[in-house]
């Protein structure tokens, strides 16, 4: 199925969880935050959160800013 991850389209298998998605795209799981269809998903729920086709996911971390 297709997901929109940080604005880019990614193909993943059905039933993919957030945790699996992070591994798939090799993202760090530390000090990042995830939004699924505009709602934050608490870290403890990543495991059980299975994604659906067309889901929009934002994964953010921190960078230098003022």
């Amino acid at each position: 199925m297709k997901l929109i991850l940080n604005g880019e389209s990614v193909d993943v298998k059905e039933q993919c969880s957030l945790t699996e998605l992070l591994e798939l795209v090799a993202l760090p799981s530390d000090r990042i935050a995830i939004e699924l269809n505009k709602c934050v998903v608490r870290k403890r729920s990543w495991e059980e959160t299975t994604l659906k086709d067309g889901d929009r996911i934002e994964v953010v971390h921190f960078v230098g800013g003022g």
Binding site: N6, L27, V40, R42, V60, F62, V63, G64, G65, G66
Partner: protein, 256 residues
Amino acid sequence: MEDIFKLGGRDFTSRLIIGTGKYRSYEEMKAAHRASGAEMVTVAVNRVPLDRKAESFLDHLLPDMQILPNTAGCYDADHAVRTARLAREALETDWIKLEVIGDKVTLLPDNEQTLEAARVLVKEGFIVLPYFSDDLIMARKLLDIGCAAVMPLAAPIGSGLGVQNPANLRIMREQLPDATIIVDAGVGVPSDAAIAMELCADAILMNTAIAEAGDAALMATAMKKAVAAGRMVFMAGRRPTRLYASASSPIEGAIK
């Protein structure tokens, strides 16, 4: 003398808050942070790049620094609120520098959207520090809805022009004597920081002036001194200016 800066339920001894953007290297940033004596730094929330290994930026911040995530890059209340929530989730902090800008060219704040976002975030328990234009009426509204402080700009972000409208700051201070006013953005040199503090700002937030100085750490030291110096005027009490001279040495008693 003890001079505590209270903000968001925390006691700070430094009245200088600095950014983490635009440094040429992490070493330079760390040296500048150390030199500045700042106890709080701003960071930006950004999409994790999918193409490359993201190095962990936060590891380069000094320990014990209060991290103040910002909502830079947001053009409306909704994005700012979502960004704030993500920051809170990732850092487990309620602190947020609220920044909703009107356009990419001037980065000037959208006061209206900022107020709307602030309403939501305050309700959700955030310690909201809004960047906005130096507008007394807007400042009052932001405080009325529960912002921990107001952060009027001195001049456009990164312009280095210094306080462009001293009258506005003076009026804001006089009309909001109990408010915490942090001058944010536009400071270019130490005298700009001193002027803002002499106008009775409670603190100053800056990034570019230090990060892009030839010697960032030295400029950070200079800014630290200037902020402290300006603060002392507030505590020491300045004598009023006059157009005419007032002799330092006795006028009489010279030889004839």
